[in-house]
Amino acid sequence: MNGLQLEAREFHAFEAAGERFVYLVPSAAVFRLDSATSAILERLSTGPRRLDALIDGLAGSFDEEDVKNGVYDLMETRAIGPAGAPPDTMPVEVPPADFPLTTMVLNVTSKCNLSCTYCYEYGEDRLVDEGTMPRYMDEQTAQESVEFMLAQSKAKDAVNLTFFGGETLLNFKLLQKTLDYARRRGVEEGKQVRFSLTTNGTLLKPDVIEWLSANDVGVTISIDGPKDTNDKFRVLSNGLGSYEMIVPKVRQLLERHSTRPIGARVTLTQQNLDVHRIFRHLTEEVGFREVGFAPVTTSSCQSYALDEASYDRMLVQFQELAREWLEAAVDDRFHGFSNVRESVEEIHKGFSKAYPCGAGLGLMGVGTDGNVSLCHRFAGSSEHRLGSVTEGVDREKQAAFLEEHHLAYKPDCHSCWARPLCSGGCYHEAQTRYGTTRAPNLHYCDWIRSWTHTCLEVYGELSERNPSFLRHFEA
């Protein structure tokens, strides 16, 4: 037994609140180390060692029983193992074909009244040529989509219907009819249907706001911050900025619609990276409850694509906001930086993903023509079509998609400790960057690892300083 040669297996160590932790890969478990286990891992980080050498080496600080117990705990959780043991294999377990749908994103129109330069739907990197899709979804297709959603949700007792565009509110009449229809059909089927939509805010008239509030519709507003940053890319077709038009309407919405939290969604570009200023403006001056940031999806040749230095700058600012979020959480206060909240929740639940997101699985997008695609970003792309709301999902195509997009087939990811949370990243981003949904998004690997490390630190510190806050993530 004492001659057993031991080596470190896959984990990522981090420190928080003066304690040491390990994030185990691929189980995604987080354990707090004590001084003995910490010392054992430190020794093994330089290479394999025999158990008796470990005991001897640590004899000054720990007795034999401490070291053996530490080794035993670390072996049981697979943080360490016998030297030369094969690495964990990644079983390719494709989810069952009848996996229930939890979210349907309905593209009610492919038309938009803004001309944002970076738009993935209309900009340089678009997947679908303009004019190939009906501009507006018709009532029959919307109702068939609702039936599709209810049928595909199988035994689930709740399902989410997200209205999307183009500019969603350009088809407000259809929204009203579809929501009523879905609500009535949901009651008949014994299912709760939750509604949300994303809009650019230009058409938030008083009657629209009233309707959103009365029907508990969750709203996300696409906005890029104060006037000067928002108006760089979010412009009307004549090139004028949209800020002045949107913000008074958003203020009205925030004032009158209190049944659901209203969030802002910011697209970061090379020219628009002042995360702090944008966050302060949107929360403190405009009044959004939550703000989420995402770098623009684009091929690397566009002038607004983030370069490496910009990813670094974004990271530093994210880290500062994450610290703010932590201090708020320690005091049981709410803080609206949604990026960190989402990551901390995934860490707490121990997500270990075989797929980066639910696209093509629990989430599907429906185009204005009723075709079902991986997600709303692929609406109208024949290559990424999974079926239609009338014919249902092409199960063979779906199974083939899930099979070939499994993390097991992304060898670039296999040596990365952050893969349980990242799993290669957004399919649409990969399609835009590398021309295939199967490619892992290698251009932001370092960023993802640094950000995941920060979120682990935040999580570790929160678990020490205010563990009861983690109850918020138990649902």
Partner: protein, 131 residues
């Protein structure tokens, strides 16, 4: 768990799974004696996390399950097997660590592969070894 403290939900699942193993639900059926707390006495099943308690223990290795060529067909010969027996010889010769699976080329059958210069072309030239 004496030295590690579970923090997230997945860690708690692992802890409760290991507790289950310790209570006697280990894969090899070994029930630790009362007070068997020392590291030497507890079952040391490092593959334990892969299966739930009570799963049958499946022997791993090539011949028992995955390489039917080493068996005989229903008539006691090898002609009716689902794969040519030669495919299996090379399966073990190249891909398997188990030394007894190939003929002893040092003593008993030194010329076993002498007519097989390139396996992908010449594997048919490898004959069976009859004692």
């Amino acid at each position: 768990m004496r030295r590690l403290k579970g923090v997230n939900r997945k860690a708690f699942l692992i802890e409760s799974h290991l507790d289950g193993l310790r209570r006697g639900e280990s894969l090899d059926g070994a029930v630790p004696e009362d007070g068997a707390e020392s590291v030497d006495e507890l079952p040391r099943d490092v593959v334990g996390l892969r299966s739930s308690p009570g799963d049958p223990q499946i022997p791993l290795g090539c011949t028992l399950i995955f390489s039917p060529g080493w068996e005989t067909d229903s008539t006691g010969s090898t002609a009716g097997l689902c794969q040519p027996v030669e495919r299996d010889l090379f399966d073990c010769h190249l891909g398997c660590f188990w030394p007894a699976q190939v003929p002893d080329q040092l003593n008993h059958a030194p010329d076993w592969t002498s007519r097989c210069a390139a396996a992908e072309k010449d594997w048919r030239n490898i004959d069976l070894i009859f004692p």
